[in-house]
């Protein structure tokens, strides 16, 4: 009976030390209520009985039967953090037990105490020692900071890694139990443990699989959305870049009033694009576009224009094709003018001709640049700097009018070809 009382006292000290440490680490407010008192009594008695009847298996695991209830009543924390604190405090307890036992053994050896005959008393002394150590540690700031750091590091872990650590510790713990109780281990218990382990592994694997599938779905959706927005942004950039060309296409077949409206739009949205308004009478169709584009550069460039087509091209092309053809012509002209202006020879040659089936425009210009031949025409490739690299890419795309590029002896040649439509008689 005396032994049970001593063990109860020892257990109470241990529980008190652990609770105090948790109370300090979790920054719980002082809250001694019935639940706390009851869980403290339950824990003390359970630990004392286990020690008294020397149930080794339960003795080691008793911490996990008692402390979660006590800790939770002191201060409930999020499950992950709570589990971590539970494990960390348990580890501290193990270390302190080990240290106290070493100190006690050494002291006993020196002073000649007989520990075995006074085992229950020694347990109480050890428990009191651990209680004092826990109180001291709980009040050391560095220990608190270290514990929080440890907890944060674990919290940063992914679920799979966290599960792996917990599971590894569990395996280690179970392994330790089996090793200690090897002599009187029952087959039923062993089977139970194996089934428990397999179930845990199975559940974790299923969880990991579901998480992985969900993550893949999420990443795929994210990638699809990302691709969609990149494409949308590209289209938007191309639209803005080619807006001037599109407007000029309409302008080339418009009457005076429509022209005025389009000029206003061009001025409003395309301030950086240059086109001359100094021509009093603007020719109809492609000629008008070419003259308007080049008019301001007559004195700056060596320009030759050869137009072998003396009919209205608009009649020979579908509206869509005409739009695309003009858009490509304007973009090419813009590029050609810019490149020629920066070159030594400053040459631009425009040759417009037709065959039975096709209308062709060839623009040749001199240039002085370093060209990445394999990248030319690819998206975002430019020799001009950031926010460029749309022009050539945009005109390669549509098949309504085909574009080919050649470089022959420092001369850049762009050929735009489009099919004529068969006119009904």
């Amino acid at each position: 009976m005396n032994e049970l009382v001593i063990f109860t006292l020892g257990s109470f000290c241990s529980l008190l030390g652990l609770s105090y440490f948790y109370y300090k680490i979790s920054e719980a407010s002082i809250k001694v209520n019935l639940k706390v008192v009851l869980s403290l009594i339950y824990g003390t008695l359970l630990s004392a009985i286990v020690k008294h009847y020397n149930v080794t298996f339960v003795n080691i695991t008793s911490y996990f039967f008692v402390m979660p209830i006590l800790f939770y009543n002191l201060k409930p924390l999020p499950i992950k953090k709570f589990t971590l604190y539970l494990i960390i405090i348990w580890l501290y307890g193990l270390i302190l037990d080990l240290v106290s036992m070493i100190i006690f053994s050494v002291t006993s050896e020196i002073f000649g105490f007989d520990i075995i005959s006074r085992f229950s008393l020694a347990t109480v002394v050890l428990s009191v020692f651990v209680l004092i150590m826990f109180i001291i540690l709980a009040n050391i700031k560095k220990v608190k900071v270290f514990t929080e750091y440890l907890c944060k590091s674990f919290l940063k872990l992914k679920f799979s890694n966290f599960s792996l650590i917990i599971f590894s510790m569990f395996i280690f713990f179970i392994g330790m139990l089996i090793f200690i109780n090897m002599n009187h281990l029952q087959v039923d218990l062993l089977l139970f443990l194996i089934i428990l382990l397999m179930t845990i592994v199975f559940v974790l694997l299923i969880k990991a699989k579901i998480d992985s599938d969900e993550m893949n779905k999420y990443l795929n959706t994210l990638k699809e959305n990302n691709d969609f927005y990149i494409k949308l942004d590209d289209e938007n950039r191309i639209f803005r870049h080619n807006l001037n060309a599109k407007l000029l296409s309409i302008r080339s077949v418009s009457n005076k009033k429509a022209m005025a409206l389009i000029d206003d739009l061009i001025e409003q949205y395309q301030k950086t694009k240059r086109f001359s308004k100094g021509i009093k009478i603007i020719p109809y169709g492609l000629n008008g576009i070419i003259y308007q584009k080049l008019h301001d550069y007559i004195d700056l460039l060596n320009i030759k224009i050869k137009n072998n087509i003396d009919y209205d091209i608009f009649k020979y092309l579908t509206p869509r094709r005409y739009n695309v053809f003009v858009e490509k012509l304007v973009v090419t002209l813009d590029n050609a003018i810019e490149a020629a202006l920066n070159s030594k020879k400053r040459v631009i040659y425009i040759d417009l001709y037709d065959t039975e089936e096709k209308i062709v425009i060839e623009i040749k210009n001199s240039f002085n640049e370093t060209i990445n031949v394999d990248e030319l025409g690819n998206k975002n490739y430019t020799t001009k700097g950031k926010k460029h690299g749309v022009g050539l890419f945009s005109i390669i795309r549509s098949n309504e009018a085909k574009v080919s590029f050649k470089i022959v002896n420092d001369l850049f040649i762009t050929k735009i070809t489009t099919k004529k439509r068969i006119l009904e008689l």
């Binding site: 030759k304 002085n368 990445n372 394999d374 030319l376 470089i407 002896n409 420092d410």
Partner: protein, 234 residues
């Protein structure tokens, strides 16, 4: 053998040019005369087997087709033949067409024609039709350069691409030094582990200082003693 293709609507002029050619060119030659664009002329243009010199009158009578159109036809397939234009006009055509069609010369009919024509033909024969070309096809663009225009080729350190340097421009291509050497002729020599030079365009090799000087006056520090034999064999 050199083939001379003369196109002029004036028969007297054709005979006159023929006479001049007979006077200057002693080697094996063939002279073909045309007064307008005919299927035979088109066939002749398409046939690129022989080295040719085209002498074209710009204005061909009342014909819609001019000498410029013929030049365009020639350059559609043949960049190696030489073209000489004969014109009544002043220099208005020169700057653009000279660049666009790689025209050797524009000679005015009524201004020292004989003297200038002879000088041009002698120059062409002396240059031995050096119109060989380097051709590289990329995804979106075909690059064609006269060998004579290429100054040197070097490998970039960062992107590991070859850079072909001409008089006015540079072109980056995805090739290795070994690969490009197979596409070039003997005038190109490896003078450094990452540089090939057109020896015809070099005025000075300085192995001591490790540079060569191009005929454009540019000094390039990519000359290694290790490759001295390759360059000197030339």
């Amino acid at each position: 053998m050199v083939k001379f293709i003369l196109v002029d609507d004036d028969n007297n002029e054709l005979e006159h040019i023929k006479g001049l050619l007979n006077e200057i060119v002693e080697d094996d030659k063939e002279i073909c005369c045309f007064s307008k664009v005919t299927p035979e002329l088109k066939q002749e243009i398409k046939n690129t087997d022989n080295r040719k010199v085209y002498v074209l009158d710009i204005e061909l009578g009342n014909s819609k087709v001019s000498g410029i159109n013929i030049a365009k036809l020639i350059r559609a397939t043949d960049w190696e033949s030489e073209i000489i234009f004969i014109t009544n006009h002043d220099k208005m055509f020169e700057s653009v067409h000279r660049s666009i069609y790689e025209v050797f010369d524009f000679i005015e009919k009524f201004h020292d024609f004989d003297k200038r024509f002879k000088k041009d033909i002698r120059e062409i024969l002396k240059r031995n039709f050096d119109n060989k070309m380097f051709v590289y096809k990329a995804n979106n663009v075909d690059l064609t350069l006269y060998y004579k225009y290429i100054l040197y080729i070097y490998r970039e350190k960062e992107e590991r691409k070859l850079v072909i340097v001409t008089n006015n421009n540079s072109y980056r291509v995805n090739m290795s030094i070994k690969e490009i050497l197979t596409l070039l002729d003997d005038r190109f020599k490896q003078c450094h582990r990452s540089c090939i030079v057109n020896v015809n365009r070099v005025e000075e090799f300085n192995y001591k200082e490790g540079y060569f000087v191009l005929d454009t006056g540019i000094k390039i520090y990519m000359l290694s003693k290790k490759h001295k034999n390759e360059v000197c064999n030339e």
